[in-house]
């Protein structure tokens, strides 16, 4: 991946390269270059602005921007008593807050809409197409506008980001829940029908329990989407968070910094998804699923 840049560097350092000019190399195949210049590619593992940084570079950056920064840094928790604004722990926390708040709002909204769609013919007919359309609006395009609008009513920071998170996470929940709430079979529905159960009873005692597998599949996607939303929201509001880190990394060409922030985001996502999976397993067990 890094071969072309490495060769250019070696050329600057005075090495003989095949082919000799950078302009020619632009159009050459990567593997060919590796083969022709095999002895010169060592530095590919330790470049400063690598297209693909080596794992140890990312690891170093991760270490530097978590433990090292907090313990030894001027602004770290050890010296200043608060988390450092250069540490991924701090930024991860900022993002996590918005993610969770946004997810809770989005999931609640999604479930509410799904219930509305399943129970109200008017909503069934008219809401779904607009929910779809809402998702085709590129949120990143809207994010700044949302933030501008929220600015003008005096809201900023966490709330603005949470709004974007909620916007992205409600849709998977709606789609999954509508299907899930409609998944009870005929006989299961008929049984309650003979009892003349109210719609609320039908919801709590049949539709909701049947929708659980769909709900959790959706919640996993929803929380991941929420995290993406929070990060997207952090781009225009440069007030910290993993999104701000990624942009900073990209802006200053610090690939390791992007990768480290990406890695942190991925860890956060995996953790959140795992948490939902854990709740799912507990719930299913409480509902008597065979183990």
């Amino acid at each position: 991946m890094n071969i072309k840049e490495v060769l250019t560097q070696q050329e600057r350092a005075g090495a003989e390269i095949v082919p000799p000019s950078a302009a020619e190399r632009r159009d050459a195949g990567r593997w060919g270059l590796v083969f022709n210049n095999f002895d010169l590619i060592g530095p590919s593992w330790s470049m400063e602005r690598a297209r693909l940084p080596a794992p140890h570079q990312v690891a170093q950056e991760l270490w530097a921007s978590t433990w090292d920064e907090e313990v030894n840094g001027r602004r770290g928790i050890v010296r200043s008593g608060t988390l450092s604004n250069r540490s991924l722990i701090y930024h991860g926390g900022v993002t996590l807050g918005a993610t969770v708040v946004g997810f809770l709002i989005g999931a609640a909204l999604g479930v509410a809409l799904a219930v509305g769609i399943v129970y109200s013919r008017v909503m069934d007919l008219s809401v779904m197409p607009w929910a779809i359309i809402s998702q085709t609006i590129p949120i990143v395009a809207l994010a700044p506008m949302i933030i501008v609008v929220l600015y003008s009513v005096g809201l900023s920071g966490l709330v603005a980001k949470a709004v974007i998170s909620a916007y992205l996470s409600f849709f998977p929940v709606v789609v999954g829940m509508v299907k899930g709430l409609r998944s009870p079979d005929q006989m299961q529905m008929d049984l309650l029908h003979t009892y003349n159960a109210t719609p609320a009873q039908q919801f709590w005692r049949l539709r909701l329990p049947s929708s659980v597998p769909y709900l959790f599949a959706s919640l996993k996607i929803g929380i991941a989407a929420s995290l993406v939303g929070a990060i997207v929201g952090e781009l225009p509001v440069q007030r910290g968070g993993l999104g701000a880190r990624m942009l900073g990394g990209s802006y200053y060409g610090q690939t390791e910094q992007i990768w480290a922030a990406l890695f942190a985001a991925a860890v956060l996502a995996a953790g959140l998804v795992w948490l939902i999976g854990w709740i799912e397993r507990r719930t299913l067990r409480a509902m008597g699923a065979p183990t």
Partner: protein, 265 residues
């Protein structure tokens, strides 16, 4: 025989027809069905597989809507009767909710109808005993054998006091001995409570033993071919099954059934 006063008619079917539209043409599940059931009767439905027994029971319970004719229950439409919670229904398949324990499944209708906690526990205990499932209340449906699941679903329908009990082959998966016991239990419950019972079965002796009226049906299109008023007394010990009256009725039913099969063989 005297015509029953209108107040006594619980189920009245007048030229009821029901057609399903399917991917390869319409299916006439019921055609011109006429039937009157009085309060407190025990009516059995018998007929070849696919002749419309389930469909008719479902129509009575307002789970299907006739495409022709009229059907009335307690002088109302089936749907009004349903809203008045007139029905206890045992489906042909057990249909237990997999996320509820057996006790939880039986408690379901009680919760919906707003029974008190202690009343619920009491009733669940009683019906579990009735169907010989005491001790299985905490198990989940998939941990029970087929027959046990079926008994649990019977218990669920018996747990609350429905005016009309509709049972679709409730004892199909039970052995003779349990079946005999449950038959007796059902008769005594019926005598005690005066419920009206609609009962689908494939067993001729069972139909004759239990019913005051036996409805023989035949398929394609589903229709009633014979309605037999039972001459047996209300009090029925198990060995009534060896009396000549019993055997005569059973013969008539068997002939009706054969005739029904005849058209398609």
């Amino acid at each position: 025989m005297q015509a029953p006063g209108p107040a006594d008619v619980v189920i009245g079917a007048d030229n009821v027809s029901l057609t399903f539209q399917t991917n390869d043409g319409p299916v006439h599940a019921l055609k011109d069905v006429n039937l009157t059931v009085e309060r407190g009767e025990f009516v059995s439905f018998i007929g070849p597989s696919g002749c419309g027994k389930t469909t008719f029971l479902r129509a009575i319970a307002a789970l299907e809507h006739p495409t022709g004719g009229t059907l009335s229950v307690n002088g109302m439409t089936p749907d009004e009767a349903r809203r008045a919670r007139a029905y206890g229904y045992v489906f042909q398949a057990a249909g237990l909710y997999p996320w509820r324990t057996i006790a939880g499944n039986i408690r379901l209708p009680l919760e919906i109808m707003g029974y008190s906690k202690s009343e619920m526990d009491e009733r669940v205990k009683n019906v579990l005993e009735l169907v010989e499932l005491s001790g299985f209340g905490k198990k989940y449906p998939w941990q029970l054998s087929g027959g046990m699941q079926q008994r649990a679903s019977i218990a669920r329908a018996l747990a609350f006091d429905a005016d009309i009990l509709l049972m679709d082959e409730p004892f199909g998966a039970l052995d003779e001995i349990v079946r005999d016991r449950l038959n007796e239990e059902l008769l005594s419950l019926w005598a005690r409570t005066g419920k009206t019972i609609g009962f689908v079965t494939h067993s001729i002796p069972e139909a004759v033993y239990l019913s005051t009226k036996i409805v023989v049906m035949s398929p394609r299109p589903g229709r009633i071919t014979d309605v037999i008023e039972s001459p047996l007394p209300k009090e029925r010990p198990l060995d009534i099954r060896d009396t000549p009256e019993f055997i005569e009725v059973a013969h008539r039913v068997r002939d009706g059934l054969r005739a029904g099969h005849g058209d398609e063989l």
